[in-house]
């Protein structure tokens, strides 16, 4: 009799389905997983340590690069932590803008997730459809902050700038004709808010389109139903948050339970799953996109009717207007101090969490009264979810590992930090 042994297989770190740089060491019994040992840290940049060596505002940009598909939500947790420690409340218009962009970001993230998850388990078309809509949302990012991804738009005390009155336009080039440009610019004639509104009107039909491709698709269901089941109690114990927790049927959403900014004034529902498998988590995220769309719409309506300041007027924390610096000595001093030394945050510690598209994204900030954080700990939802990988894939087939990675919505920027 030949000796039969389990086989150890290496998956990644460079594998298209690993969503970045995940190395998985899989112990296989035939095609069944006995044990999965994820090796992470290949993208570790020491964000937390870097932040300790910089004035507070210089780290906002690092937050974008954590979970690089939901940039503004990362910033949000960071600025919230600073604001709570300094006892600052941003103007209400800034809070609406933040909520609107948080939800735009949620849609961005879920579109990316849906496309990549679909592609991983054999649905090519969804990927293309999702990226078509993502393009419009990135244009919103660009209009407001100047960059398509790493916005650095939220600041302690508000947001950097008010929403622009006009949208950037496409131009005619050698490979883009007049007619093509006219079509592309059709809904860019008004302000950013007009553009976002036209998006919210169009988007529910797009979600329907994704659903016709997937929800009742036999192959999709075979790949996701009953895969990676997590019981509700176990999900809480493992530290799951966000759609991973709600997919298991636990109704927990920080936007409802511990509302921050203006979420308590908005009308939306929290979808929960029943079985806690990949398919339920898919349904939860699809519904979240619809709900986010509704929130964005409500914010657009409010923002149209309520002009006002978008950042506080305290120049110890926010830069003065450039105009004011021309003939006001004090503004000049404030500007100089802010950009050379930054501002000092009072001594203390705070944990600020937001409902990030992936789950609870928390910033634990310890300040010793200096112009730099003493300790910054980023609580990344993906890190916690990935730590449960072994439990979720045990007893499944090799191909299901890919489905589980997909359903966890892993992004290595935040897992490795």
């Amino acid at each position: 009799m030949p000796e039969i042994r389990n086989m150890t297989m290496n998956f990644g770190p460079q594998h298209p389905a690993a969503h970045g740089v995940l190395r998985l060491v899989l112990e296989m019994d035939g095609e069944v997983i006995e044990r999965a040992d994820p090796h992470i840290g290949l993208l570790h940049r020491g964000t937390e340590k870097l932040a300790e060596s910089k004035p507070y505002n210089q780290s906002i940009g690092y937050m974008d690069r954590l979970d690089y598909v939901s940039m503004m939500c990362n910033e949000h947790a960071y600025v919230l932590a600073i604001e709570r420690l300094s006892g600052v409340t941003p103007p209400v218009r800034a809070r609406y803008i933040r909520v609107m962009f948080d939800e735009i970001t949620r849609i961005l993230n879920h579109l990316m997730w849906l496309g990549a998850h679909g592609l991983d388990i054999g649905a090519m078309t969804v990927f293309l459809y999702c990226f078509r809509e993502r393009e419009d949302l990135m244009d919103c990012y660009e209009a407001v902050s100047g960059t398509r991804m790493h916005a650095t738009y939220y600041r302690p005390g508000g947001v950097y700038r008010d929403l622009p009155a006009d949208m950037p336009q496409y131009r005619v080039t050698s490979n883009r004709s007049d007619r093509e440009v006219a079509r592309l610019n059709e809904n860019r004639q008004g302000s950013l808010l007009d553009f976002i509104e036209s998006f919210t009107e169009r988007f529910p039909a797009c979600v329907d389109e994704y659903e016709t491709l997937l929800t009742d698709n036999r192959i999709w269901k075979q790949r996701t139903v009953g895969i990676g089941v997590v019981a509700p109690d176990r999900a809480v114990e493992l530290g799951f948050t966000g759609p991973m927790l709600r997919g298991s049927g636990v109704e927990w959403d920080l936007r409802k339970k511990q509302p921050y900014e203006v979420y308590d004034k908005l009308n939306f529902a929290i979808p929960v799953g029943v079985n806690g498998d990949c398919y339920d988590r898919y349904l939860v995220r699809i519904e979240e996109m619809r709900q986010s769309n509704a929130i964005v719409k409500q914010c657009v309506d409010w923002l149209r009717n309520n002009p006002g300041p978008v950042i506080i007027d305290d120049h110890k924390l926010t830069p003065p207007a450039r105009e004011a610096m021309k003939d006001d000595m004090e503004s000049l001093i404030h500007h100089f101090k802010l950009f050379t030394e930054g501002y000092c945050v009072p001594e203390g510690e705070v944990y600020a969490a937001v409902e990030h598209p992936k789950g609870e994204f928390g910033i634990y900030l310890v300040s010793d009264g200096a112009n730099k954080p003493y300790r910054l700990k980023i609580r990344a939802p993906g890190f916690v979810h990935l730590s449960a990988m072994n439990e979720m894939v045990k007893g499944h087939m090799l191909a299901d590992v890919v489905a589980v990675i997909g359903t966890q919505d892993i992004v290595f920027g935040e897992v490795d930090r």
Binding site: H44, G239, W252, Q258, Y351, D368, R375
Partner: protein, 231 residues
């Protein structure tokens, strides 16, 4: 609002449940922090999780802190008028010359879904190397967090099932998030064409501190002494 229900009722319930095991407590920005000793930690955590009225079923976060450089600025600015500013020069690295009692702390952020409240538990770790009991048997989610705190701070978690490095490179030496570990690191890698492989060498870059760390008191915020009196 951070937490809807009142933090002081939580603190009362905690005192009722834990009694003398709480060394210190404070409420800051609406968040409750309690300090416990590492020896009591497993027992306290079990009570926090299993007590019917507290029910802290979820561990949101666990992290290490190195208090080596706490409250130390690079640049003294107190007496500016008479002497002028000192030069804002800093190495950015704090050398561990004194034997600091309780240099490291482990901070646990707990969440009770039932009460809709958060709690911060902090435990100062002493000893060389710093050791603290693991809570993996209490919250399954603690596993990777403890590996991370071990990797970055060198805190040992006793009875952890699999205490390996997690974020740093295979074969990494040192614990990078300690305050006496330089920001630019100790070694760098490059491809050596002669040997035909990637080699390690001492770092060739030097850390430049553009903005020194400054501690300033703002009169609009309560001074730390007043804050302590409040709690």
């Amino acid at each position: 609002m951070t937490q809807a229900p009142f933090p002081d009722t939580l603190l009362n319930d905690l005192h009722e449940c834990l009694g003398p095991e709480i060394i210190r407590d404070k409420i800051e920005a609406g968040q409750v922090t309690i300090d416990v000793s590492p020896a009591d930690l497993p027992e306290v955590c079990l009570k926090l999780r299993d007590d019917e009225s507290l029910a802290f079923k979820q561990l949101s976060d666990l992290c290490g802190i190195d208090y080596l450089a706490y409250g130390k600025a690079d640049w003294e600015t107190g007496d500016t008028t008479r002497t002028g500013f000192s030069r804002g020069v800093s190495e950015g690295v704090y050398i561990d010359t004194r034997d600091i009692e309780d240099r490291f702390a482990v901070v646990y952020h707990l969440l009770s879904l039932k009460r809709n409240q958060r709690l911060r538990v902090r435990s100062f770790v002493s000893g060389q190397p710093a050791k603290i009991p693991s809570v993996t048997h209490i919250w399954a989610g603690a596993n990777w967090f403890e590996r991370e705190a071990f990797d970055l701070f060198g805190i040992l978690f006793e009875e952890h099932p699999d205490l390996r490095r997690i974020l740093t490179d295979y074969g990494f030496i040192g614990h990078p998030f300690r305050k006496d570990f330089p920001l630019e690191g100790n070694v760098e890698v490059r491809y050596d064409p002669d040997q035909g492989r990637v080699v390690y060498q001492p770092v060739t870059i030097k850390n430049r501190v553009l903005t020194p760390k400054v501690i300033r008191r703002d009169n609009r915020h309560p001074a730390p002494e007043d804050k302590r009196a409040e709690n």
